[in-house]
């Protein structure tokens, strides 16, 4: 079942067409990495899902209910963590969570128990000073606590790690990994290593539409190019190999770097067996022969350039 469905979403700011018929589906219990360059429309999409921005076309459903602009009822299913969550600096963490709980309509006893549980989850259980004195990482962790307060079915995180140092990033990613299975997480970012680390589904937004979508394995399979790296014993052997007629035609890309040769073939006419045959035929014994899987960064770069 899909917890979030976006259909033909359109949004422009003046002449800048940010979303051009975006279609996206987020399956329940996924950690969904929503990837794209800065300014490509990730935050706009999330704000439309939250009913904070009015789309110029298309529809969004959360848990099967249509999102409407303004005070949308679908937000009772959602927890939201902005990229830089802003709090009332004069409040203490428990006071802020109490305010959020009262707005959500939780019972006082539930607010208290849930607040303690979440503050422990995000490592702020012993902190009772005013939020104004918090570091960015602490604010981000408190942001996760407030977003999870009403036990949402969908947690939307807008670049939660982009402003954090490596330790803060690791803490936030650990927390998001820990809630997997209980809550679906949509996690927008342009930090690809974060996505590879925790996300099981990935979508790449480019030019207002999804350029890639699926699990990392599916995307790698869709975008697979036969790519190999061969390290020869000498530079002369490597150079000689690049001269072969079979490798010097359209669709085959050769990158020679000293003794190392990288071969990519878009049309599939060169595969591992073919290369092994060529090496054998020309009596070449490489030191290393490796089939290369495209990384998410390779795929992302290919899509956005």
């Amino acid at each position: 079942m899909n917890i979030l469905e976006i259909s033909d979403l359109q949004m422009s700011f003046g002449t800048n067409h940010v979303l051009r018929g975006l279609n996206m589906e987020v399956p329940e219990h996924a950690i969904f990495g929503f990837v794209g360059r800065n300014g490509v429309g990730k935050t706009t999409t999330m704000k439309i899902v939250l009913g904070l921005l009015k789309a110029q076309g298309g529809s969004v459903t959360v848990c099967g209910e249509t999102v409407s602009y303004g005070a949308t009822r679908t937000n009772r299913h959602i927890g939201y963590l902005p990229d830089v969550p802003e709090f009332y600096g004069y409040m203490r963490p428990r006071e802020y969570l109490k305010l959020c709980g009262e707005i959500t309509g939780l019972a006082p006893a539930k607010i208290k128990s849930r607040s303690e549980e979440l503050l422990e989850l995000v490592g702020l259980e012993g902190v009772n000073r005013r939020i104004g004195g918090f570091s960015r990482g602490m604010k981000q962790r408190l942001g996760i606590a407030q977003a999870l307060l009403n036990e949402p079915r969908l947690l939307i995180c807008d670049e939660p790690t982009s402003a954090l140092d490596p330790i803060g990033r690791r803490q936030v990613l650990d927390i998001l990994s820990a809630i997997k299975g209980r809550t679906t997480v949509v996690f927008s970012t342009h930090i690809l290593s974060d996505v590879e680390r925790i996300c099981d589904h990935i979508a790449v937004l480019e030019q207002g539409q999804l350029a890639l979508s699926g699990t990392l394995a599916e995307i790698q399979k869709q975008q697979r190019r036969n790519s190999f790296r061969i390290r020869f014993a000498t530079e002369a052997e490597a150079t000689a190999f690049t001269q072969l007629e079979e490798l010097n035609r359209g669709g085959v890309e050769l990158i020679l770097d000293g003794k190392e040769l990288q071969i990519s073939c878009e049309d599939g006419s060169i595969d591992g067996q073919k290369l092994v045959d060529l090496l054998s035929e020309h009596r070449l014994a490489p030191e290393n022969f490796e089939a290369m899987e495209p990384t998410l960064e390779d795929l992302f770069t290919e899509v956005v350039t």
């Binding site: 969550p85 802003e86 004069y90």
Partner: protein, 254 residues
């Protein structure tokens, strides 16, 4: 209704912890304590500052002079401080993004506007009430036996004008951008209302007359019924402005 009370509580906590409440109470307490004192001491001060050989005749101060100080201070410095202190209560939340978390939790947008107005009105009422009470106590002590007519209605008119200005500020803050856009629009609205007085008959209905003619009321120069039309215009105007603020804020992209 529940959201209104939750947000009202948050607003009052904010005023208390960010010193907004303290500043207003301090200013209006100082006004309240010094109004009668200034009235009492003004003749002596003027006499002391006169060059040698020069004499002026100043009438003996009365309770009316003390209340004249009250209305002058409240109408000028008091309202300016009030507007400055509250100028960013809505605009600040929009520009900083502090409302986003709460709105995504289902906070009703109309509750934000109504609670903010309710909290500002409460603080304004306490401030002006405290200042009036202190002025009354010290006036009774320094000018025993002096009575001032139509005083309660005159103070009410001053309070109502402040309440009207707060409604203008809130409505302006939903329309204007930035922390001081609302303040600027409020200033322009006051200038427009003052300019309106050049239209014959407008003074009778103009909310500005609630503040500008309060001293005439206290001095018994006009009957309170003269200001009834202005009261009748100001109350629905303030409520209408809050209604406009709610409508604009409900459509505002945050």
């Amino acid at each position: 209704m529940k959201h209104y009370f939750v947000f009202l509580k948050k607003e009052l906590m904010e005023y208390a912890r960010t010193y907004k409440l303290l500043i207003l109470l301090a200013v209006f307490t100082i006004f309240g304590m010094t109004n009668p004192l200034i009235a009492k001491l003004t003749p002596d001060l003027l006499a002391n500052f006169m060059p040698g050989g020069m004499t002026i005749t100043i009438p003996e101060p009365t309770a009316l002079d003390s209340w004249a100080q009250f209305f002058k201070n409240t109408q000028q410095m008091g309202l300016i401080v009030l507007l400055l202190v509250f100028s960013s209560v809505l605009a600040g939340e929009i520009s900083k993004g502090t409302l986003i978390n709460l709105l995504t939790k289902g906070l009703m947008r109309q509750a934000v506007i109504v609670a903010k107005y309710g909290a500002m009105l409460l603080v304004w009422s306490i401030s002006v009430g405290l200042s009036a009470f202190l002025t009354w106590v010290y006036t009774a002590y320094l000018f025993p036996g002096d009575g001032v007519s139509q005083l309660v209605f005159a103070v009410f008119c001053m309070w109502l004008f402040g309440a009207f200005l707060l409604a203008v500020l809130l409505a302006a803050s939903t329309v204007a951008g930035g922390n001081y856009g609302g303040l600027l629009l409020t200033g322009l609205a006051v200038v427009a209302l003052l300019t309106l007085n050049i239209v014959p008959g407008a003074l009778k209905y103009n909310p500005v007359s609630l503040a500008s003619r309060s001293m005439e009321l206290a001095a018994n120069a006009i009957d309170k019924s003269v200001l009834y039309p202005a009261v009748a215009v100001t109350i629905p105007a303030a409520l209408g402005l809050i209604g406009i603020a709610v409508l604009v804020f409900r459509r505002k992209q945050i």
